[in-house]
């Protein structure tokens, strides 16, 4: 893949917590404009990988490259500037519960731009419109349903027109219809806004609905990276057991 088509790349990444090895020798290139899904069981290290890529957890060794910049070698200020080009959607949505929905979406704009409050309000409304939450601007997060909170979180993630959006379990805890809505949203946003989306999930339906490419993470190691078809036809027994959700197989349950 030509250099300029790579949105973000992971080189020889290692990470341990205390004595537990969470990520081992991870190498990945993620292309511009693709939806890249990282799947794996609970405790496989996928959330840690996502957070390391987003710059919030420093790796023990290895590096994340964004363009020609090594993310974790940068100083705090430079790193913050890069982080503004990322958006992150959290499993729990992580809206600040002291602020209204609109204030949540406006927050990064208020902090990082010199736009006037009127303009910020218009942008925030526009982003909320994109995720189908028009009319809920003045609601507090606690008044919203799980799916609505996720969408509000998504609106906040795209507030700064990021180049890359990271999604941590975007469909966890939602009903099947809302899962489909969120999946559609991820697809739409990625294509319409020309984003790169990196999604961590273990919802197989979602994976095959949205992914351009899939990576399977097992016990901190990358087992396989490929397109939907390649993963479906994978010879790896662990991958097969995981995507089919079988109890019997090589996956060790802990």
């Amino acid at each position: 893949m030509p250099e300029q088509d790579i949105a973000i790349s992971v080189k020889n990444l290692e990470k341990s917590f205390e004595s537990l090895k969470v990520l081992e020798d991870i190498n990945l290139d993620i292309c511009r404009g693709e939806i890249f899904v990282i799947m794996g069981g609970s405790g496989s290290g996928k959330s840690t990988l996502l957070r390391t890529m987003a710059g919030s957890i420093p790796p023990d060794s290895g590096q994340i490259f964004f363009g020609n910049k090594a993310l974790h070698d940068l100083g705090e200020e430079e790193k913050d500037v890069i982080k503004r080009r990322f958006g992150m959607s959290f499993q729990s949505a992580a809206l600040l519960d002291s602020l209204t929905v609109e204030e949540n979406v406006s927050l990064p704009l208020q902090e990082h731009t010199s736009l006037t409050p009127n303009v910020i309000s218009i942008i925030a409304k526009m982003k909320l419109n994109l995720v189908g939450l028009q009319g809920f601007e003045n609601y507090m997060p606690s008044m919203l349903s799980g799916g609505m909170r996720k969408r509000a979180g998504l609106a906040r993630a795209i507030a700064m027109d990021p180049e890359i959006v990271f999604y941590d379990e975007p469909t966890a805890g939602l009903d099947p219809v809302m899962c489909a809505v969120i999946d559609r949203l991820i697809l739409d946003l990625t294509r319409k806004l020309n984003l790169t989306s990196i999604v961590v999930t273990h919802n197989m339906e979602s994976v095959f609905r949205i992914a351009d490419r899939i990576a399977m993470l097992y016990r901190g190691k990358l087992l396989e990276v490929g397109t939907k078809q390649e993963i479906k036809n994978s010879k790896n027994e662990i991958v097969q057991q995981f995507i089919k959700g079988k109890i019997e197989g090589p996956i060790q349950l802990t």
Partner: protein
């Protein structure tokens, strides 16, 4: 073997304390950095959050500070009156109440009340934000959590705690005055005259200088315990308790140290 284990135990304890010290110092220095240097680095203070916090920490605490100090003044006057009557110096109730409130009880009791109300609120807020990924969300948005969450609270309490202390002092004096004049039948003018005769400006500003330090203790301990919170709702509860207890102890220790400094330096 036992010896080894004991040394190991002491070793880990020292390491743990060292880590606490390092973490706390870095949080403290980061807070001071953003509060003082931030505005010069195009990172202005969040004025609207500061004013909200001032209302919450200050205005909404006035009633409880009033009650605590008012009744403390009443109790002081009632407790000291019998002894002073025996020595034939009933009138000195006025100066005893005034000096002990302005020098000591006003600043310390107000700080303890605020540690219970505000210190707990700070830890609970930051702690639940921590366990709900909200602190991390701020960080990924490139918004420094210390700058956004701690600095406004510190500045608000730094302004409001001395104000509350003044209100607390006045409430205590009022309590003492009411007992002195209406129960002990001291002449009102004489009471006020005696009270002011022994009160120096130093009593007031040594008291107020303490309240700045207490504000620092309450906010920083509250924030530190908040950021350290782990493990859901139970974790938030534990952190809040630890925060209040630690603040209480540190306020008393800091009070003793500062009183010692004023005492030995001749104040």
């Amino acid at each position: 073997m036992h010896m080894m284990r004991m040394f190991e135990h002491i070793g880990t304890m020292v390491m743990d304390w060292a880590r606490v010290f390092i973490d706390f110092s870095s949080l403290f220095s980061e807070t001071i950095y953003w509060a003082v240097m931030g505005p010069f680095k195009k990172k202005p203070l969040h004025l609207h959050i500061i004013s909200d916090q001032m209302v919450f920490m200050g205005i909404q605490s006035i009633i409880i500070v009033f009650f605590v100090m008012f009744f403390t003044g009443i109790v002081l006057a009632m407790q000291s009156a019998p002894q002073l009557i025996q020595m034939g110096g009933l009138i000195y109730v006025a100066s005893l109440v005034t000096i002990s409130i302005c020098r000591e009880l006003g600043p310390v009791l107000t700080a303890l009340v605020i540690a219970g109300r505000i210190g707990a609120a700070i830890t609970a807020e930051i702690g639940s934000m921590k366990v709900n990924e909200q602190v991390e969300a701020l960080d990924t948005m490139g918004i420094n959590p210390v700058r956004y969450l701690v600095v406004p609270k510190l500045i608000a309490l730094f302004i409001m705690l001395p104000c509350l202390t003044v209100i607390g002092d006045l409430s205590g004096l009022l309590g003492g005055y009411l007992i002195g004049v209406y129960n002990l039948n001291i002449n009102s003018g004489l009471y006020i005259q005696t009270a002011l005769k022994f009160l120096t400006l130093k009593d007031i500003y040594t008291g107020l200088s303490k309240s700045f330090v207490f504000a620092l203790i309450i906010t920083m301990i509250g924030a530190y315990q908040g950021f350290k919170t782990r493990g859901g709702a139970v974790g938030v509860g534990k952190a809040t308790t630890v925060s209040v207890v630690t603040s209480f102890i540190l306020i008393i220790i800091a009070d003793a140290i500062m009183t010692g400094i004023y005492y030995f330096s001749g104040y």
